[in-house]
Amino acid sequence: MTGQDLKKTPLNQTHRDLGARMVEFGGWDMPVQFSGIVAEHHAVRNDAGLFDVSHMGEIEIRGPESLALLQKLTCNDVSKMQDGRCQYNALLYPNAGFVDDILIYRRSADDYFVVVNASNADKDWEWVRQEAANFDVDAANTSDQWAQIAIQGPKAERILAKTTETSLVDLGYYRFTSGAVAGAEAIISRTGYTGEDGFEVYVKPEEAPAVFRELLEAGREDGIVPAGLGARDTLRLEAKMALYGNDIDETTTPLNADLGWMVKLGKGEFHGRDVLERQTANGVERILVGFEMVDRGIARHGHPIVENGREIGIVTSGSHSPTLEKSIGLAYVPIALRQPGTELTISIRGKDAKARVVSTPFYKRKKD
């Protein structure tokens, strides 16, 4: 794929003007870093970082059977949602493997806004569209109509408050509202993919560059920095948030991925439910665990976990953790090895290195 074929967010030129290093990610031309991954990572943990996540997809579902459709497609219980709430959820195949992990926003009982991963947006839309044909709903892929900017970090609330009249103090975690940000009409939510407090701001694509610039300006004295996908990856890993294509995919179920809290078997019929019922009754064979390296080195995506020369598991994500100054990662291992403290041997480029299972998340912010 050449640079000409890559999709660009409305902030592409803004990133270039800010001196970003650009990389291909899921078919998009995205900033991997501005000042440096570690510097951006620390900025988000200590002050604030500003991310362009406009590449993520949006699917909007309206109509009398919207809830019924979403219940059929997902494993978490959408009926428990209230207006103005967000929910982490997953679209599942009939084998309970992940189509994608998603965020659902409920505007009203028959109006939902669904945020999906960039690399899966077309596939997700096709999946939802096919199922939607059986329900009395109006579903649309509105990915092109939204830019998304995430502001994350302990100073995010203070900085965002300078650009909006909307009360953020009253906006609880996993809630959303609408309002103006930097003069642009926006959806404002309070979730995140970093382990810090933070917000997403959804605006029309043409408004995004001015909003991004204004947020950088508003946060200047509080130390905000533009942050790229590199820091986004190290931050989410420390918080043990799954990355589709690495930690979860069509071959793993929410129970394999240690996301059992998201599986609500009592909610009625949904794709993959019988598989998840069996897994609940019989247990899973493999599960996603966190590990830290004992020996030096970084175990990365795809490195095998070995026992007596046999491959028994696989690393799905791995990196140096800037906050902990350790080498950490996630891996699928046989269920018997899930206990924290269990020693693992990881083959890093053909050399055995010791690691240890640890409890997760690796990093948890101190709440006020």
Binding site: G36, V38, G230, T234, R296, I298, R300, H320, R349
Partner: protein, 124 residues
């Protein structure tokens, strides 16, 4: 002599009869934040075009290849505690090994700065 470069992005500059080896400014930028540098032992032999160590950043792992053949006479021990020197000062504080060359003619096979810059432009 000014610096000479390899196609694998190492540099060598002569300091008397010893060559100082590291990675180029372009290479450190590509790697991003450096976490570990693994270096050979003093007294070991290196061969032109062959691996002498490795470097790992937050994002990626990469082998290091020697621009010349000879004996390692010194290594930069400060990189154990300050690997970030490779990012902040690739040509000075971030040097990696010093090599006594077996054959200085090997330098002629390497690129000078202008040729290296052209090579980088072509690669990207």
């Amino acid at each position: 002599m000014s610096k000479r470069f390899t196609k694998s992005h190492e540099y060598i500059r002569m300091d008397g009869d010893v060559g100082v080896v590291g990675i180029s400014d372009h290479a450190q930028k590509e790697l991003g934040d450096v976490i570990f540098v693994e270096l050979p032992e003093v007294g070991s032999a290196v061969t032109a075009g062959e691996q002498f160590g490795s470097i790992e950043s937050v994002k990626a792992f990469s082998d290091l290849y020697s621009p010349v053949s000879g004996e390692v006479v010194e290594i930069n021990g400060s990189l154990a505690d300050k690997p970030e020197s490779v990012n902040t000062s690739p040509y000075e504080d971030g040097w990696m090994i010093k090599v006594r060359l077996r054959d200085t003619a090997e330098l002629d096979a390497l690129m000078d700065s202008a040729a290296y810059d052209a090579w980088v432009a072509e690669e990207s």
